[in-house]
Amino acid sequence: MSAPVRTMPPRATAAPRRSPVVPARRTQRRLRLVLPEPARPRVSTAVQVLLIVLVGVVVGLVANILVSHTTFKVQELTDQQTALQDQRDRLSEDIAYRESPQNIASFAEENGMKRDTSPQFVDLSTGEILTPEQAGGADPAEESPVRIPGPRADAREDVRPNLRSPERLPVVGGDAGEFTAPAQTPPGG
């Protein structure tokens, strides 16, 4: 492989000399060998480009991994939050059922407690124990005389769907189509 040969323009310094006797001659161009310029360090440029690309890709990947990791972390924390909310809801629901007056009365009776139907009082100023006379008409029962329908905790299993029988209780709240509401306007209104 040979180096390219270039023709160069005539040198500006070689001005033609004029002679009064000699007819003018046609100037001849002289070919001249042009040496190639020193080759640039192409390899290092490629490496630089490659490195830049590589670094770019790596940075992109790392950023992507970080974003993904953060996203999954957020997802994980969100799941934890949901689980904790579920737990809180479950406990709140359970406490609400246990705090109902019926359940408290029921637990009290199960533990042998009875209503105080003939209380005595202590006069704080004298320390005297006062026993009120029994009234004529009052005849309070020591135990709950009538069971007031309790919370659905009594039948919470019914909240589960039972596909064997459609006769189980509907989901809490019922269906608006199943029953009619009482009048919402005054009589005659």
Partner: protein
């Protein structure tokens, strides 16, 4: 001259021409493709991306929590609970396999689900088998059951959360709380009355999902949070409410009454401490009782108050200075008015020498007419309306009755007399209790209050604005009437209302109950309304039994219930035992 045959000229392209043509066509197609590419990537890029995104985006509603309803001490009467429905993509369930990769399919999924759901796999299989992309398998699951199903890792099974209204105290104050339908729409009671406040605004969550319905972790997501409703706190004391409901149920049962109600209010503030009735509704299962038993009769049922209204007549007489508690009357068992209307007492008796206090204590109709005849018709009407009769309370309960006090010009010759002992007019149990509270509160009618304030999502309580009571009679008059009412219990018809350790004042009532179909009366309304302790009243209580078949006199059936529930409430409220003795105001004269 012959013409040269016309040669048909055929267009033929030179090979170079054909190549050019193909080239032009190719360039044209290429331009078309390029243009489309540019259009999609450049001009229409956003729209195309938007369309693709819309295909992947799905919306899930975030239900707003409905405001809670609490009693005065924070006991929950109505709240919300999360429930889940199981939804299946039937096309994916077929991929269900065991741990070894052995395919189990829809039948295997049905078997495993049936164990958790406590049902038969044969009933579940049709719901799981097929090619539907969305099918409901079960509803009403708690989060525990949901977690158990999720642990099975059945492909295509997902869960949808929804909120239900829960009533943890069951029937306690159920008639006041009301209820909502399964669609969350309020149907009765305070749920209906305060729906604007209780209902929140649902939010929405958007996220991207893949072909199998799974959530794309890095996809677009947006959340519009739900705005929860504001709760309300009632003035109701749950312990008293529960006790009174039991007492009402027992009384209705014992006296075979159509229904029974008990109302208890704080005489100073007008706050309802309890409003019990039987039969009553359990908001968890409203369909368990008849439609007429799903409301709150204490507000909606107006009935003739009967003799309990005599306290208003007596208060008017004292306030107008027409009589004093010791004025003397000779009271016959029958009395004929100038317009020939005849009136009689509940039982025949010789002429009685009674004071005005004695007339009230013995609940004499004829004596009340003899004394009250000094009141003009306008005065009679005015005092009943002053005490709140004929006007609904400030509670504004759905379907609340204002009762009936006819204008004077509508009174016939009999009503002008009967109104003085509570016939020819109607009132609700809440109105009668409020009137008694006015007498016990020094003549100031307190505004009846059921809602004490609001409770926000963080549980912060904001008290409701209250209005000062209205003076209806002077303090002196109120004190005199209260003293006279104590003699009803001590010397009169209401001995059964006495409460051990506490002085009690009150009035019995026995009125005829008009038939539902009209055409006369078909039973009685037995009632008692009173206050305790008489020397410094704290609570006013009314007991009403509608059409009792056993013991229809208020003093026989309603007064003992009053004694029971009032004694319980006073002890529960830690009210000190009464001191002092009733006055020696005479009830008879010689």
């Amino acid at each position: 001259m012959g013409q040269a045959p016309r040669t048909r000229r055929r267009w033929r392209l030179s090979p170079a021409g054909r190549i050019r043509l193909v080239g032009v066509a190719s360039v044209g197609i290429l331009c078309l493709v390029l243009w489309n590419l540019v259009a999609i990537q450049g001009v229409d890029q956003q729209q195309a991306a938007q369309r693709a995104l819309e295909g992947r985006l799905t919306e899930v509603a975030i239900p707003a929590h409905r405001g809670v309803i609490q009693t005065a001490d924070g006991t929950t009467l109505a709240s919300n609970a999360a429930r889940f429905r199981v939804v299946v993509d039937q096309q994916n369930v077929a991929d269900y396999a065991d741990e070894d990769g052995e395919p189990l399919g829809a039948w295997g999924a049905a078997q495993d689900l049936a164990t958790v759901l406590d049902t038969d796999p044969g009933l579940l299989h049709p719901k799981l088998d097929g090619d539907r992309r969305w099918n409901v398998v079960a509803t009403g699951l708690t989060s525990e059951v949901r977690d158990e199903i999720a642990a099975l890792d059945i492909p295509g099974i997902t869960f949808e959360e929804y909120a239900i209204r829960s009533y943890p105290s069951g029937a306690v104050a159920g008639s006041l709380v009301g209820f909502v339908g399964s669609d969350g729409e309020p149907l009765a009671g305070l749920e209906y009355r305060y729906d604007d406040q209780l209902a929140g605004v649902d939010g929405v969550q958007q996220y991207e999902r893949g072909l199998r319905g799974e959530r794309i972790p890095l996809g677009d997501t947006s959340i519009t949070p739900a705005v929860d409703g504001t709760g309300i706190r009632l003035t109701i004391d749950p312990t008293i409410q529960h006790y009174l409901q039991e007492a009402a149920a027992e009384a209705a049962d014992e006296h075979e009454a159509e229904w029974a109600s008990i109302v208890m209010t704080d005489v100073k503030t007008g706050k309802l401490l309890a409003a019990a009735e039987s039969p009553s509704v359990d908001p968890n299962d409203p369909s368990a009782v008849d439609a007429e038993d799903r409301g709150a009769r204490v507000f909606t049922a107006a009935f003739e108050p009967g003799s309990t209204a005599k306290m208003i007549t007596v208060a008017a007489l004292l306030e107008e200075g027409l009589h004093t508690p010791t004025d003397e009357f000779t009271v016959p068992d029958r009395w004929t008015a100038p317009n020939d209307e005849e009136f009689r007492d509940s039982s025949a008796h010789e002429d009685q020498k009674l004071t005005l206090t004695g007339i009230l204590a013995q609940s004499s109709n004829t004596g009340t007419i003899l004394a009250g005849d000094k009141l003009s018709s306008d005065q009679r009407y005015e005092y009943f309306t002053r005490f709140g009769f004929g006007e609904a309370t400030a509670v504004g309960f759905p379907g609340e009755s204002s009762g009936v006090v006819h204008p004077v010009d509508e009174w016939d010759g009999r009503t002008k007399y009967t109104v003085m002992f509570g016939q020819g007019m109607t009132a609700t149990a809440v109105q009668t209790t409020a009137a008694m509270a006015a007498i016990a509160n020094g003549g100031v009618l307190p505004q009846t209050q059921l809602v004490d304030g609001t409770v926000d999502a963080s549980g912060r309580f904001t008290p409701a604005e209250t209005t000062a009571g209205t003076r209806v009679v002077s303090e002196e008059t109120a004190d005199q009437v209260l003293d006279m009412l104590e003699h009803v219990v001590v010397d009169g018809t209401a001995g059964n209302a006495a409460v051990p350790g506490y002085r009690v004042a009150g009035k019995t009532g026995t009125a005829q109950a008009p038939a539902e179909e009209g055409g006369g009366y078909d039973g009685y309304t037995a009632s008692f309304v009173g206050v305790a302790p008489a020397e410094d009243p704290r609570i006013a209580v009314s007991v009403t039994l509608q059409r009792p078949r056993k013991g229809y006199y208020g003093g026989q059936s309603a007064a003992p219930v009053f004694s029971d529930v009032t004694g319980f409430a006073l002890r529960h409220l830690r009210v000190p035992l009464s001191t002092g003795e009733p006055s020696d105001t005479p009830t008879e004269w010689e």
